[in-house]
Amino acid sequence: MSTPIGSDVARVDGRLKVTGAARYTADHPVDRAAAAHVVVSAIARGRVRAMHVDEARRQPGVIAVYTPLAPLPIHAVPGFGENYAPLQDREVRFRGQIIGLVVAETAEQARDAAAQVTVEYEEAPARTSLSAGLPGLPSPGMSPDGPSPDPTLLAPGVDTIDDALRASAVVVETTVEQEAQSHVAMEPHGITAVWQGDDLTVYSGSQAPQMYAMLLATRIGIPSDRVRVVSPFVGGGFGSRVPVWSEAALAAVAARELARPVRLALTREQSIVLSGHRPMMTQRVRLGADRDGTLNAVSHESAAELPAVGGWPEIPATETTGVLYRTRNLAIDQRLVTMDTPPTWAMRAPNEAPGAFALETAMDELAVALDMDPLELRLRNYTTTVPSSGQAWTSKRLDECYRIGAERFGWEDRDPVPGSRVDGDWLIGVGMASAVYPAHAEPWPVRMQLRDSGTVVVSASTPDIGTGTYTVASIVASDALGVPIERVTAELGDSALPASAPAAGSRAAGALAPAIQSTSRVLIAALLDLAVRTEGSPFRGLDPSALTYREGRVEAGADSASFAELLGMARLPAVEATTPVAEPSAAQLAAHGFGAHFCEVRVNRFTGEPRVSRFTSAFDVGRVLSARTARSQFVGAVVFGIGGALLEANPVEESGRFAAGNLGDYLVAVNADVPPIDVTWLDYSDTAFSATGARGLGELGTVGSAAAVGNAVFNATGIRVRDLPITLDKLIGRGETSALHRV
């Protein structure tokens, strides 16, 4: 059997998805489920003075109305996602906060009754401006006890980064800003909560069912082994389904109080507010270089929104500017500004996408200042060790990505003079940028079974959020056990399964694959042991070392039996193994995925409308396990970056309200915005990273892709747009040097 690893296998869950049979949060059938609808605050900060709920209570079908004055018991979980608990006090902390819950027989009744609730507030001034809160406090990063997220490197005799910049022959300074961005996974958030005695079963799309069970249990005050989270299909995550948000706790407790299942579906607008967003931020990058482009000084400062109710401690520079280029002097200063806004959370490449937009825009500006090819500038400052620590990488072949990507794209045809390529009404420009994203070699376990039906089953709590984990797990198990993929079943997305990797941080495939391989070896050993112990087995009494396992069969001499036959002889339904504990790796190596983006845009010289017309990306992620789902992930990630570059913004208004509460106002890329995307990858085994050599790839393509678009827009027009998104209003009527005016 040839190895399925890296081949173009169709998604194993494809049929369920194209027939509508895949069950997402609200699709699981539950008897007697009551419907819940949340009531949210209309002010950004203050107190609820009074809530009038009598009219709502009188509405047909209404079962219960909960408010801060008639609350449900819920605890806060400080330090992860939100740090407050809804309905436990009268405080309003952000606009759109849950301040009530209506439960009724049907969703229509709950929604209409919720609209009958009126609220009186005592309003207080709200901090809704990032710039008003500058400079902010240092960001602790995700691990406050770990190393500083702000690495510094100063050459001997250099006192400050400002000194190093002053001593540089060429200096550029770039300040970029971006509004909040919303995940808007296609499936709005929701939950169905079902109690049986003291046990709670939750149907809810989650990126980490095991953690969801633990966090929800903490919030509602029960042991975590009493909670089961069922999440076989997840309608997109992008980070928003890592925490457990308030509505989940409310639905769970309401179901307990009412002694019947409760189904709660947030509206799209509620989901945008309550389920996290990428923080608004401002960044300044200063680069100082020698005349030949060698970097002498790199400074990256950032200030990002951190809601008072908690959220993501944004650090855009650590894993971008902190690792990407060799420099003699490096300074990073990342800050957070406390605001009265809805909670933030990681959104696809949470730190790296914004950080790379800042850095890679500045690098393009430096190339212009030096009159140098931007690709050559990157190669001039190529580094084989992490600049601040001197760590080597498990593997880094970014230079090959540059070369292959440039060749496929036709980078050598580039004209460095902005506005020099015109096709009718359209100005054409090209730009490039680098991609980098950390890889996590964490040991997470799986459970595997050989069943008497002839089937191999891989079980893990890790969900498939669309990334292809069902398919990847099936491919790796098929390869490891030599069994056709049709006879492999992956059971995923359930906290009752062995606790394994979350579908977050691009870590699922890279963690599961080595676990499946090592577990397969244990499983084979267990099967051979069974073969020599089982009465009636042709191998009974032999030494297991005399047996061989090949493609689902045990063999010795002329004797051969399939694992199904052996299990039948042993009258066992299955033989099972769990992942052996891995030896901790002694090597202190850095691990990242790398890539190079090349983008062509067309900007209408009369309307300023920017369109992406071509895109090529080349990636170094070590081994690719599933070509088809990897390609889809790469392409989807690049499009995520294109949307971030040209479309996505959710500004917080002075009132604390998100300007875009729906998919008509929050613009994401649609089909017509996306040209064919040409992606390729090196495909080799990074054996220093893991036994499988696969580093994970889901977020990498989102890093740097927005900068490639912006750099192409500059090449097309001579206009440098530093504030995302790059919309036509920023390209029309700006600057005397604009090619738009040379019509």
Binding site: R15, T19, P29, A185, G468, N671, A672
Partner: protein, 207 residues
């Protein structure tokens, strides 16, 4: 120029009537030709209560007749999902902005979240559950698998229903035309290029 889109006037067999006889795999187990009411065939997920001022409607859903009382506020989307247990049709925005709820009504694609069930008396509805012919997938469904036209799969039923209509309407003359006419269906995972590949591959084979 005719006042209406000519493609809409072209006579063609209504989808879901010729090949398919039951509401779908997730729905009630209805015998072909039967005249079920919801009460007789209610699957476990059906919400029994229909609220106040109920309106009686008769529909043909995926080839099977359904007679039911409905809350006049109930959308076709919620009716399919909550009353008929046809949960393949998805609610992505509930205001006609994402396309995840796309179904066919009388052969035309509609946004079921903006369509009231009470207004559909006598209509033929085809949802994603009604596309396959038994175990045999509709060519568009198979094309989405073959070209990986999805990732998380949540928008997929709506994408496929739109794509089926696109092919039937003959709006697949070029990639640009496919992209334009598939742009009412948002895919946050951004499988767009692969959706275009899938639709292109069935051009001329169905419809």
């Amino acid at each position: 120029m005719p006042p209406t889109d000519p493609s809409r006037e072209r006579p063609r067999p209504g989808p879901g009537t010729s090949r398919r006889q039951s509401p779908g795999s997730a729905g009630a187990a209805t015998a072909a030709g039967a005249v079920p009411t919801v009460a007789e065939n209610a699957p476990t997920a059906t919400v029994e209560s229909v609220g106040e001022n109920p309106v009686e409607v008769s529909l043909r859903v995926n080839g099977s007749r359904v007679r039911m009382e409905t809350d006049p506020r109930a959308t076709l989307l919620d009716t399919l999902r909550d009353r008929l247990a046809l949960t393949g049709t998805k609610k992505g925005c509930d205001r006609g902005q994402c396309g995840a709820c796309t179904v066919q009504v009388d052969g035309r694609r509609v946004l079921s979240c903006l369509t009231l069930a009470a207004a559909l008396d006598g209509a033929r509805v085809t949802s994603i559950e009604g596309l396959a012919d038994g175990d045999e997938l509709h060519p568009v469904q198979q094309a989405f698998i073959d070209h990986d036209g999805f990732q998380c799969g949540f928008c997929t039923p709506g994408q496929i229903m739109s794509a089926v209509s696109l092919v039937e309407e003959g709006r697949t003359g070029s990639d640009e035309e496919i992209r334009e006419h598939m742009s009412g269906n948002i895919c946050r995972c951004s499988a767009y290029p692969f959706i275009v590949d899938a639709v292109r591959s069935v051009r001329g084979k169905v419809g």
